[in-house]
Symmetry: C2
Subunit: 153 residues, 2 copies
DNA sequence: ATAATATTGTTGCAAATGCAACACATTAAT
DNA sequence: ATTAATGTGTTGCATTTGCAACAATATTAT
């Protein structure tokens, strides 16, 4: 909403619409390939892999879902044997932490490889340099937004 | 998923997460100011204003919602007197077209002004030039994606 | 010491969402 | 001329989602 006359021309709306395509593309692929996890579960598993042993609420803040939804995703991942939950302390407080299992690691690697191959099979939308630049800008934009938005998670 | 090891570092996931902040920011504002329409309704009204008399399915393709959801939004906008619906022909076929009413125009202008003022009150996240560049890249990326994704609307 | 506040995770319910199926009309196929 | 296929909008339902409330515990205030 800089000099635009219309909200739908703003970067906020354009971002949302573009993200819908991304989500759609990913979910279609996960269904088509009959993946054993959903796209959300996969992203959560990836987040756990990167951030190590992490409590449920901190995870919720990373995947930007509320606590009940995060709990439900973890229930599903646990049932599938991809993560393990254990009690631990954080600031003198009892929390349920989460870590990825060997089975989970295996699935994460395999699925990541499949995704990477699929995306590289798509026609190149923007050049590698352009994509990197775009990604950096988006991350900067997001970090700016984070300061303005109260996410109440 | 170019050279990244992790999906959550990909532009696809980063776009989705950033869009969540945008949506959250907008919805919080609409609630705080007790707007007479929701953010989705506002965006739809804006789309109708720009695209003129348009049938329901074409509108659905623009706002990226399915036909039932689009119909529901239009019902609400119609009840509030912001749009009018009328029967018309398109390719020899009877369709319900939609146009914005004077009341709708007024509300659109007022709300757009409020939004613009609010967004300009935020601390500048990226410079104007950077934002323009980012927006152009996002639109280019989106147009590339559109060719790959079957949206079945 | 008691009460108020804060943190974490879960439960339950209400609202939103998506999707298949339907009704209706038009065009195309055999 | 029937049948099949396509396009449009609506209805109904099942799934998802978000949010408030709760239970349990720890910290802080009065």
């Amino acid at each position: 909403m800089q000099q635009e006359k219309h909200y739908i021309d703003s970067i906020y709306y354009q971002l949302e619409q573009t993200a819908k395509y991304c989500k759609y593309l990913g979910m279609q692929l996960f269904q088509k390939l009959n993946m054993p996890v959903t796209l959300d579960e996969f992203a959560t598993l990836d987040t756990i892999k990167i951030n190590g042993e992490i409590c449920q609420r901190d995870l919720a803040k990373l995947i930007l879902k509320d606590r009940p939804s995060t709990g439900r995703i973890l229930n599903s991942l646990e049932e599938k044997g991809l993560i393990a939950r254990f009690a631990d302390m954080k600031n003198n407080r009892l929390v349920r932490k989460t870590k990825i299992t060997p089975v989970g690691e295996k699935l994460l690697e395999g699925t990541t490889a499949v995704l990477k191959e699929y995306f590289s099979s798509l026609p190149e939308i923007l050049s590698g340099d352009k994509i990197q630049e775009l990604k950096q800008s988006i991350i900067a934009f997001r970090e700016g937004l984070e300061k303005e938005v109260e996410m109440k998670i």
